[in-house]
Amino acid sequence: MLALYQWSIGIRTDEAKYLLDIPYPHPPLARYLLSLFSSPLWMEFFFRLFFATLIVQAVWFFLDKKRTAMNLLIAAAWLLSGSVILQAGSIMMAPLTAFSAVVFLWLLRRLSFTEWQLMLVALFWLASLFIAYQAALLLPLVLVIFWRSRLPLWKQCLYVGGPVAMLILYTLTNPLALASMLNVAGKDASITFFVKIFFFLQLFFLSGSGVVATLGIIGLAYAKKWTELCAFGLIAVYVFFSFQEYYGILFVPFFIIGMKEFLPLLTPIVRWGLFETLLILIQFLPFAPLSNTARDTLAFQNLAPHKDILVVGSFGHEWQYYSDAVILRYSETFKNRYDAIVCLDTCSQELLRGRR
């Protein structure tokens, strides 16, 4: 259902970046693997199914072997959180980073590791960083996992710092990614502080369907989970300054950890009341319209791969994904020939003459 919902919306520009292995904004691990298999259009649904399954099955990391009634509530809190429902089937890096957060939060509860196990944790940390830059926000969790291990400090520095150093090295090989980060950083400069606060709080409560978000944060503060709060704080600051709706899923693993601390304090009748509230709140989630301009426009074009389509106006990478022909960008100095034209802005008669 989650994959089907996202598939109905179609590929968005950020998803197209990963499916087409476009070298920004994120490091190459996940997008390279996706691009190897993205050629047939039907693979889109398979990827969505994979991402949705990964997020849904992540619930097992939160459940205890005992206390089955509580497990049902925790599972419901995860599966009925707004961001999980709205994003689980999206082909984005945020769900993958959320999954990394789930794993690190689970590892944080383990008491002891062998060095071999810690090496595997370090490799997972390396992979998380090379999937998405935002995984760096999970650094407090990783630091504490290794700090508690009592390895010599120099080994801890290598296991934690080595992957970060490799990420910095990778970033230097990709000046376009650096430039796009700087562009994004300045993008929201005109938005006032209070508007940013409003957007942030809206996303904060939406991501946890109101109830999970509120109880999660109260639970984290009540249980004095400072490491988790520190990582959550980093994520919150990041989301505040570089706001995107799909970052909401990064909050949810922390909400669930907080809820696990808070739920035992409530009476069973209140807990079940929360469960029913979650079920009711689902209908108020802002589900996206099931239309996609690029997909709907290009569905009937039968241009060969060596042909050119000129797009007038601002457009995203989903046009490159859905088109078999080459997508060209119109500008005042553009003089090349083209075989078809798409007018997202007003097209001059000169451009339209003799074209379809």
Partner: protein, 104 residues
């Protein structure tokens, strides 16, 4: 080295993985290093690539900078898409903005 010996040295395995990654990345960084050191060169490269992309209708993310010197920029142009297409290598001379094909 036996499997048992390898299994007892997790740090060496980890460092080997980092070494392999660095082996791939460091030469690329060296070829792009002037771009980070000289802001004037950075602006020239940005101007040349933007102007070229505007002239040919290219999307900037289809360009991948491979080598930068004070005289020229080498980049690869590849139309991203589900259909696999050949990429093309070009050199831009910063002095006169001339474009010449190169071998990848």
């Amino acid at each position: 080295m036996t499997f048992e010996q390898i299994r007892r040295q997790p740090l060496k395995i980890f460092l080997f993985v980092l070494f392999l990654i660095a082996l791939v990345l460091v030469p690329k960084v060296i070829r792009l290093w002037p771009l980070y050191l000289f802001s004037a060169l950075r602006q020239d490269v940005q101007h040349e690539l933007t102007a070229l992309a505007d002239e040919r209708g290219w999307i900037l993310s289809d360009l991948s900078i491979k080598h930068v010197t004070h005289d020229s920029v080498r980049f690869i142009h590849r139309n991203h898409g589900r259909v696999v297409r050949d990429s093309a290598c070009y050199d831009i001379a910063l002095a006169d903005s001339s474009l010449t094909p190169c071998e990848k």
